[in-house]
Symmetry: C2
Subunit: 270 residues, 2 copies
């Protein structure tokens, strides 16, 4: 593999995944990953542009940022690309009234959205709310529509909590896609539009930015398909087999965000 | 389309789907579809061989047959190909100890199966037991196995109860397949092995038999891929769009089992 200097040449900005890179989540709380608080601070003191790009769909953006601040991170809502606000824009633009298959923790994001007489389904990481009853209700709403619209906040396969691996929204999206014979519209990684909107907020072209994430498909593969470079950290949901993934090869694998930032500050923008 | 006489020439046996063809299910009970009790009786009085082929995976075979008998059908356990007994044979042959993601109604079928220290997952139509917690447990079992084995009792997308369309096991199979990056082994329709075992029980070749079902993909498509002919009834989960399915075209569409039997008795085996 090429030297780091070559691999990171011309990088002017960094997109950071949140869960599994900054912190490991647990029900309603979390613990910072060792070195990540300081790593974010060092990045922000550098000449590199920094933005956070999450698929978090159990917590509202406000709650997520408050949690990260409590954990010691220098972060504000305006620095985060998150799927719920992006979804609300789409719903309003297209006059869609969703049945919300979501976690109670994110319901407040949809306070201004008309949910009467639903003409689409919005699905997010609903956790325990992925009951058979709720899934079946979403299924029935979709089957009664002439043109079923299913909007998914991310399409992750699983994530890691301190208690173990947890099924993510993508699994339940696949269930509804199969049952209804439709394809969901994904708002979140790895959708190219989502990465592009984050890049636009940073004022950078794809080739000038590197994504750092723990998901080989959603973070690394998605960013690369968009023209960005991408590093995978060996924290969060990382599994050793990711380094031999049949379809996706990261531009580099690092132990954690701290190592990624070491390398970036040493080699980027040279 | 060819005349019925041509389409049914040489048919010597009939495979009947159960739910949606004989009766419409409801939680724990059901109502016969008009004309079906008499249609089965007429078939059995004819020279045609008759067998039942179901993906029922919420009720034990014994409970299913008792329910059908109570509804007036002439049926016995030995005449039914059902996925749970077939699965138990596979588990024993291969020394598999399943985590059972199943409905309580079918748990007795697995009484003789060792479920300690699971080395595979068996998934059936678990209904309300498709909780996030149970799905996540199945996911975690699979992720911890070096060679994850997921056995699915059928792969139906949905079925119809008197209260409406209900998500079937196939949706949840897709969820686990996607999350784990694996493919399930299906015991049930539309698996060719399953149709073949039913044909074998009847002593017929595929070209001598016709399947009658309400599922355009699982019943009609599956039987046709196996070399059988197949009729779709406009009862159960039938939807008008099935008659213009992009991939599957039935050998005939009939209003119900009674009409199918009329046609068979008039034209088959000529």
């Amino acid at each position: 593999m090429a030297a780091w200097g070559q691999r990171l040449a011309g990088v002017r900005g960094v997109l950071l995944d949140v869960s599994g890179v900054l912190f490991d989540g647990a029900e309603g709380s979390g613990v910072p990953i060792a070195g990540s608080v300081e790593a974010v601070a060092r990045l922000k003191r550098s000449r590199l542009k920094v933005r956070f790009c999450t698929n978090e769909s159990q917590k509202s953006l406000g709650d997520l940022v408050r949690l990260l601040q409590q954990l010691g991170f220098d972060i504000s809502e305006g620095e985060v690309t998150a799927p719920a606000p992006a979804t609300c824009l789409i719903l309003k633009e297209r006059g869609l009234r969703p049945y919300l298959l979501i976690h109670d923790g994110i319901r407040s994001e949809f306070d201004q959205i008309d949910t009467s007489n639903p003409n689409c389904v919005v699905i997010a990481d609903a956790g325990e709310s992925f009951s058979y009853q709720n899934m079946n209700k979403a299924f029935q709403v979709l089957m009664e529509l002439e043109n079923p619209v299913l909007i998914s906040l991310g399409k992750g396969r699983y994530y890691k909590e301190t208690s173990g691996l947890m099924l993510d929204v993508g699994a339940y999206v696949k269930a509804l896609e199969y049952a209804c014979g439709i394809e969901a519209e994904v708002v979140g990684k790895p959708s190219p539009e989502y990465f592009k909107s984050a890049l636009q907020e940073m004022g950078l072209e794809a080739h000038q930015a590197v994504m750092i994430g723990d998901d080989i498909v959603g973070d690394v593969g998605g960013a690369q398909q968009c023209g960005m470079r991408a590093l995978q950290v060996r924290t969060g949901k990382f599994r050793p087999s990711d380094e031999h993934h049949p379809e996706v090869k990261a531009d580099g694998y690092v132990d954690n965000l701290a190592e990624a930032v070491d390398l970036l500050l040493q080699h980027a923008d040279k």
